[in-house]
Symmetry: C2
Amino acid sequence: MNDMHLFEKTLSEEEIYDGVVVKLWKDQVELENGEKTVREVVRHPGGVCVLPLDRDGNVYMVKQFRYPFKTVLMEIPAGKKEPGEEPIDCGIRELGEEIGAKAERVTFIGKLYPTVAYDTEIIWMYLAEGLSFSGGQHLDPEEFVDVVKMPFEEAYRMAMNDEIPDAKTQLALLRAKAIIEGRGK
Amino acid sequence: MNDMHLFEKTLSEEEIYDGVVVKLWKDQVELENGEKTVREVVRHPGGVCVLPLDRDGNVYMVKQFRYPFKTVLMEIPAGKKEPGEEPIDCGIRELGEEIGAKAERVTFIGKLYPTVAYDTEIIWMYLAEGLSFSGGQHLDPEEFVDVVKMPFEEAYRMAMNDEIPDAKTQLALLRAKAIIEGRGK
């Protein structure tokens, strides 16, 4: 079926707020039925997350205070892409910065659109294997995280049990499990 | 390990924008090291998504134009919670509105925080089984969607193959697969 009839036509764009992390735009659009409405859009440069898996089957995550939820969440290393940066390079950089690791193999395992209704953010997911630790963490000045190491199966169980609510971390764990099990077949 | 040292202290809150979908706040906070910084937060009432699975093993999704990506995406039925609405009631409502279905069993299969760095949104996920169709769609006036029916395994394959980038849809499909396979054991 052709989807063109669902498309919305942009009539105007207005920048509402240009912040440190969030850029907000308010556009006027024309719908399928000719009616006009407003679309509010958070513009985001995109991000990358990396699931680090060592030779003994352990994963590494970081505990970080997440202000919107006023609590500490467990997540795999992740960060915003720099302008012009390739997703895989961003993943390798975050792996070094957040847990001080280098990887022999970094495999793309999928991408996700976290908030399709009002946010342009895309997150690329990678699996990092063959880890070595030498450099130590080197975080951004305003970044504070604690590194946690645990068996992959324990992290997967926590994700399925709603103890890891972060979407990118859940998805990377579930996808990695399917991919790793698929290799054994 | 105690996480309290990671907590940030709110010093002030300022509303930047109060829109139709997006409400944006800009808070001043104090970090672990005593430095002050800004946290921009999109405040969202939360949402619900429902994976409809019929007796023949087919799932139902909707194709919808998603303005931030200027394209049509395939997603399971979903929507914003009304004030005071329970997540499961929102799921049952969206199932009726978007695909015109009622379900004999609606099972909670997990929740996700799509955008932990700057957005309060939480999405509750449900699996709806024992479907009956009688009422037809009754969409919001500004909502246009096409319903798509396909075998569960085909939808799962599309999610793993990056043909369904929406985070909630991917996660619901991957979680449902693990849950359904677990029942057979």
